[in-house]
Amino acid sequence: MMPFLKMTAAGALALMAVTCGGLEQALAQAPAQPKTIDAIKARGTLNCGVGTGTPGFSNPDDKGVWTGFDVDYCRAVAAVLFNDPSKVTYKPTSAKDRFPALQSGEVDLLSRTTTWTLSRDVGFVFAGVMYYDGQGFIVKKSLGLKSVKELKGATICVQTGTTTELNLADYFRTNNLDYKSVVFEKPDESVSAYESGRCDAYTTDQSGLFSQRLKMKTPDDNVILPEIISKEPLGPLVRQGDFQWFTLTKWVYYALINAEELGITQKNVDEMLNSANPEIKRVLGKDGDFGKSLGVDNDWIVRIVKAVGNYGEIYERTLGEGSALKIPRGHNRLWSKGGLQYAPPIR
């Protein structure tokens, strides 16, 4: 997300390379290790690395139960393995200790707003892009702006030394717009400067803008512009070296998308079991042995949908209209509806 995170990631990887005597060596030993799925089943609970509090992605509710977009993915995986979404041990990991936690086997998978980058694809492997995030802008509603392009000559609050600052400069230069940036060390400082009127706009990752807006004195007087000017693909990741486990995590994500595409929801999944549609029959395990080929039961997608719903339902409940955040689907709409969420078919 930020270069600092990237640097820590790179540092963590370097450390691993040194301490484990090289990743290649670790990988070479991998086939001899017990299969992750068997280990999880023997343990009776999925160890899922979540964040230390990101509104809408992983946060405790009133009873202290972890909820959110990233958390629901863990629940979906547990539903497939145990037919019980509650069999998850949530391990909160900070931006700094997340990679060592995954590497050392403390967690089976990481589902915590981690940006997919090339450097992280060495040693780890991402199951897919669950959420397309990117840098956005928030402005005062009274300015009546509709697009970032109209921010010509504006003063913009931004955190210093982050990719956000560089992206801002690049975007405005490419579009031939002049601007003045006011840089701060911490997000809270930037937000309060923006609120007090020192800047016309504030820029950071768009999902962050929605949660920061809730903390403003008058949230409704601010609008988040629709444009996203950078790529922050977030998704769950696992260790390299166990293809069976990786394939399963990947297809749990694809199953969520496929279920939404076919209109299978938490509510109608039982009726759908009687559907004559061959595609739905395959997805719900009435036809073929697709679950078996992944090493799980054939009704795996039924379990997922019963536990957490399809992708769209998860989104609406945790980030979208059903939540306090109310983040529009944007790039995270299905491909058939103009978004980027696309999954290979199940057949």
Binding site: T52, K91, D97, P100, S104, K215
Partner: protein
């Protein structure tokens, strides 16, 4: 009546003018003695009033409560605090403009602040452990109650075992296992602080004695350990124990995160404790240990009966000081994703979108600060009392 002798009657004493005694006199002398002082007095009064009023306004007048419209407390909801606090809602959204403190947030999340995410139906175990601890501490710490030896033995030998079984489950009691991932709040703060202190004390004594030992191996080992651990910040040790240690362990072997943090804190606190205790050892006159030698006491007898009791008495303020420091330092476990009191307050205030508002953070911080202050102030008052009692021999 003429000619009657008039006896001089002493006139009643007139005191100094009213304006120079009592409150007024004191005020004239100290607050309004010159123009500058008068101006400063009024300025000070105005500032005090402003700040006080700001606090009262924030905490009470404009604060959000759980009654209708959020303007006052509802009796029903007070009952809820004991039965189902997580159902408490604020009367109106704390997001409303001009809202002061958001107290329903604290009430709603209160159980989390105390127990973390400990399973609701198992929380009685934490309560029992806490009651045992408090009873043990009261017996040990209140001078009038007899049975000090027994309570000390209970607290240091029996209680840790019982508390371990109670909190984590398994063992002889056969309770369901509760993993440390779900521990949090004040529970973690207390566990880290108390285990850190009780674990660090013997480590500190041994290191201090080792550093003064005449045997070079012990001396060098102690000096090396103390200087190494004292030379790095606590945050580094915690970070090492959390991030580096798992990479050294064979794959698949994982040490409990809380345990790793506890070992780190114990080592760190032990090194500081050693230096504090060494200060006490140096202050005990040489004659004391020479006298012990002359009486033919063995080394353990000399240290345990003559030197240490005197040395420890001298360093009580130092030990308490480092305990107060440790109690507050427990918040650093946040960086290794353990949620102590401050951590869980922050987690809920920052991350739960249902409670996001401009005032939630501030309310949470004020709550956490008050809890920390109450604990630390209590500790320091108690230590002052103990010091006075132990110094009775010198003031006579």
């Amino acid at each position: 009546m003429a000619g009657a002798m008039t006896t001089p009657v002493a006139r009643p004493e007139i005191g100094p003018p009213r304006s120079s005694v009592g409150v007024i006199g004191w005020a004239r002398a100290n607050l309004f003695s010159s123009v500058t002082n008068t101006v400063l007095t009024f300025l000070g009064l105005w500032l005090t009033f402003k700040i006080l009023w700001g606090v009262i306004d924030w905490a009470f007048v404009t604060a959000m409560w759980n009654g209708p419209d959020g303007r006052y407390i509802s009796g029903f909801h007070i009952w809820q605090l004991f039965t189902e606090p997580w159902a408490i809602r604020s009367g109106a959204p704390c997001r409303a403009e001009g809202t002061g403190a958001c107290w329903p947030f604290i009430a709603n999340k209160f159980p989390q602040f105390i127990y973390g995410r400990y399973p609701v139906d198992q929380r009685w175990r934490v309560d029992v452990a806490l009651v045992l601890l408090v009873v043990g501490l009261v017996v040990l710490m209140v001078p009038r109650i007899p049975g000090k030896v027994w309570s000390a033995a209970f607290l240091f030998l029996v209680f840790p075992v019982i508390a371990f079984w109670l909190l984590s489950g398994g063992g002889l009691l056969g309770l369901p296992v509760v993993k440390t991932e779900v521990w949090g709040g004040l529970l973690v703060t207390l566990v880290v602080a108390l285990v850190g202190l009780t674990g660090a004390f013997p480590v500190g004594v041994l290191l201090a004695l080792g550093r003064r030992s005449k045997m070079p191996l012990f001396r060098w080992a102690s000096v090396g350990f103390i200087e190494l651990v004292r030379g790095v910040p606590l945050i580094t040790i915690l970070f090492m124990s959390s991030v580096m240690l798992p990479l050294f362990l064979p794959s698949g072997v994982t040490l409990d995160k809380l345990l790793r943090a506890l070992i780190g804190v114990m080592m760190f606190q032990g090194a500081y404790m050693a230096e504090t205790i060494r200060g006490g050892l140096q202050a005990v006159p040489r004659g004391q240990s020479e006298a012990a030698d002359a009486l033919g006491l063995s080394y353990p007898q000399k240290i345990g009966l003559i030197v240490l009791p005197q040395a420890l008495k001298l360093v009580i303020p130092g030990i308490v000081n480092s305990f107060v420091g440790l109690f507050k330092d427990t918040s650093l476990v946040l960086i290794i994703s353990l949620f102590d009191l401050l951590g869980i307050v922050q987690l809920n205030a920052n991350a739960d979108p249902a409670w996001s508002s401009p005032t939630t953070n501030m309310t949470g911080y004020v709550f956490a600060a008050s809890v920390f202050w109450i604990c630390c102030y209590g500790i320091s008052r108690y230590s002052q009392m103990i010091e006075r009692r132990l110094a009775a021999g010198e003031t006579r």
